[in-house]
Amino acid sequence: MASLIKLNKGLDINLAGDAEQKYVSTKAADKVTLVPDDFSGITPKIAVKAGEAVKAGDVIFTDKLHPEIKFVSPVSGTLEEVVRGERRKVLGIVIANDGKGTSVELPAVNPASAKADEIKSALLNAGVWPFIKQRPYCVVANPDCEPRDIFVTAMDTAPLAPDFSFVVKGQEEDLQRGISALAKLTAGKVYVGAKAGSGLQLKDAEVVEFAGPHPAGNVGVQINHIKPVNKGEVVWTVSAFDVIVIGRVLAGKADFTRTITVAGSEIVTPGYAKVLPGQSLESVLNGKVKQTEYEQRWIAGNVLTGQNAGKQGVVGFYDNTVTVIPDGGTTDELFGWITPGLNRYSVSHTGLSGLFGLFKSKKWTLDARLKGGPRALIVSGEWEKVFPMDIYPEHLYKAVLAYDIDKMEALGIYEVAPEDFALCEFVCTSKTPVQQVIADGLVKLRKEME
């Protein structure tokens, strides 16, 4: 029987356009784009030249500092273009898909008998290593170090995110293979955070169930409640959605297909879709978006941590969701400071929707407006209500702003990732870009410390 941890703090934003539990078809990807920026802490070194033919599983680029970390093509075809920006920074690597699906031969690894080193090199060579991230810093894990424990979250509680129990159907073996492989990589334990009542059972891992609103599914929150990260310790984190891919690849198949939800108030038929990382949003959303006169916002990822990718955007390496919402850039709202607020989403009680609890019971269509101007922090206590960790989010944020390293360490910077602050940013009266500040702080801190 898995132990259960109940969380009270947090917020489930009840958005319209929730995915039905059925698969919707997508157009085959005629090209995929790998975006090095998806991987925090990585400097890309391109391994292939434009025009070269690649197979699925061929190395496209590696990390400069750790060349053993490889990033591979999910499709077979030709490398079309390396898109560069200012100072020749690699923005994207475009691979044209020939549709043949030829792939490199990967050795099948049996986690039960394989040694840790074999598993590690299999993961690195197959290009699935980047799924493993590390705390502190929330970057792609350093393969040279030994993690204290490995934490896997088998729940995505973000708005409109997929239900893991639906996604895993038919892929249970891959999941188990992946978990067993991870268990070999640590002297500690593999903890799997699962939704309360999901009945998830796994060998070689300790399942801990979590009940409560978002961000209960964030691995950082789960670590904080299971066994917090201390200074000097390193733990690895993986999403169970990605462990499925890891397990599949270890079976010898270079198949990087992932299951995501296609959701949001602007989608006609919200549902689940099987896509490739780097596939264009246009091919995923093909024919599923409402025809409107107003502008829409195509988001790679969920509304809290995703990016406004636009019509040219692609599915990110870690994304579980593609969301389409109204942009709202031409919406007029007269006297927003005094209207009763029945139709304005707010968890604060300054409007009737918050006062009557409508934000919980109703399905909401939210657009991308900030709905206010940026200010210094004024209201106190609102971040804490959506931050279920034993950390003072506001004080940590201020320590990061001031870049006071001692304070940041003392207040728990090693335990957090930008995504843990997403709800703080959502509810903030002063419209503070909390995630960006934390992300910048982590990058700076890592440079200083490593």
Binding site: N308, G336, W337, V347, S348, K371, G381, C428
Partner: protein
């Protein structure tokens, strides 16, 4: 063409960088956002949707919460005026008289304060913060009715510049700007802030010149109950606790009616704009301290009187709960509130120089709030440090 499209397309470019009036962008923006919720959308990264609450909405709740005390205060100014002259104009004329005395003060406070804030915002090319909309209304509410307008102007300017803008503006200040205004007046012009002649206006409504044909009745004293406590002439028979609760007593314009203040408190608590932790603990701290003093001295006012008299309730509800200058941790809020409650009563009872202690207590609370938070956060830090050792 819709109005907002017109503003965005025809008017806005003049104020943007490179426009004819780019220096006045902050002022244009404050009027535009007053009319319409801004159209800015989230950037490429970061949260793509936002809660619809913003600082305008929060501040407007504070202003709405002040309305009951404000309306009552205006009436009470007229009522006290009539009492002093021994006449009765009826409640409406009394309200009009008080409103007439109040209005110029609020105009002066807003013009001076908002003028400075807008000028600073325009220099920094930032949006004008809304904080002063509450402060500017609070200032005339907590001064004696006979305070000259020029004093209010000077004190407001001092407070906005030295208590707020030099720290970085709304959200950065250490002390509550409304109370700094009050404290400035109290120390710079003590004669205009205390005594028997400042809290009741006996002359005409605009400048307190004597009204021909009227005389102040014999035996009238405009001293507030707390002034009487301070000089030993307090007699529970003059003002009953009920008078103090309802507010039909002399005092600063809007601080007298505990009932009206509690109506505002209800709005602040329902909308969760003010912290119930602070409000509750100020009253609790004040009650405990009053009970202790009451047990030691027979002539001291009762607990109920202590909480209803003077500016105690007003400070507890509207001043101590300012989130910027108060404690920001939940545990800290309890300590901070109790500290203010206790100190307000101590200063009131033991320092004969100050008949009222609420103002000083809140300012003192503002000063120690970061210290309280420091220790609360330190407990969390120590817990984390111990985990490393274990």
């Amino acid at each position: 063409m819709k109005l907002n499209d017109f503003i965005e397309e025809k008017i806005a470019p003049n104020f943007e960088k490179g426009g004819k009036y780019e220096k006045f962008w902050s002022i244009y923006d404050s009027f535009h956002t007053f009319l319409f919720v801004p159209r800015h959308t989230a950037g490429r990264k970061g949260v793509q949707v936002h809660d619809s609450v913003d600082s305008k909405r929060v501040i407007i709740m504070v202003i709405l919460a002040l309305v009951p005390a404000l309306l009552f205060g205006c009436w009470n100014v007229g009522y006290q005026h009539d009492l002093a002259l021994g006449i009765n104009d009826g409640w409406f004329m009394q309200f009009l008289y008080g409103f007439g005395a109040f209005l110029p003060k609020v105009v002066v406070s807003y013009v001076v304060g908002l003028g400075i804030e807008m000028a600073v915002a325009a220099c920094k090319r930032e949006e004008v913060a809304e904080g002063f909309l509450a402060t500017g209304l609070l200032i005339p509410m907590i001064v004696p009715v006979n305070t000259p307008l020029w004093m209010i102007a000077v004190a407001t300017a001092f407070s906005v510049v030295f208590a707020k803008e030099i720290f970085g503006g709304t959200g950065m200040n250490i002390f509550n700007p409304a109370l700094i205004t009050r404290a400035f007046l109290f120390f710079a012009y003590p004669k205009a802030m205390s005594g028997d002649n400042v809290f009741v206006r006996t002359g005409n409504w605009w400048n307190n010149d004597p009204i021909e044909g009227t005389t102040v009745i014999d035996g009238f004293s405009g001293a507030t109950p707390l002034a009487q406590v301070a000089d030993g002439s307090f007699d529970a028979a003059t003002y009953s606790t009920m008078d103090a609760f309802l507010g039909c007593i002399p005092g600063s314009i809007a601080e007298t009616s505990t009932l009206a203040i509690l109506l505002g408190a209800a709005l602040l608590l329902i909308t969760k704009v003010a912290s119930w932790r602070i409000m509750l603990s100020v009253f609790a701290g004040g009650a405990v301290m009053s009970a202790i003093i009451g047990a030691c001295s027979e002539s001291a006012p009762t607990v109920a009187q202590q909480l209803c008299l003077g500016g105690f309730a007003f400070a507890a509800v509207f001043m101590a709960t300012d989130p910027v200058t108060g404690c920001r941790t939940n545990t800290g809020k309890f300590i901070y509130g109790a500290f203010i409650g206790v100190m307000a009563i101590i200063i009131r009872m033991f320092n004969t120089g100050y008949p009222e202690g609420a103002m000083m207590a809140v300012l003192l609370g503002n000063a120690v709030a970061p210290l309280i938070d420091y220790y609360v956060v330190d407990a969390n830090i120590n817990k984390r440090a111990k985990r490393v050792k274990a």
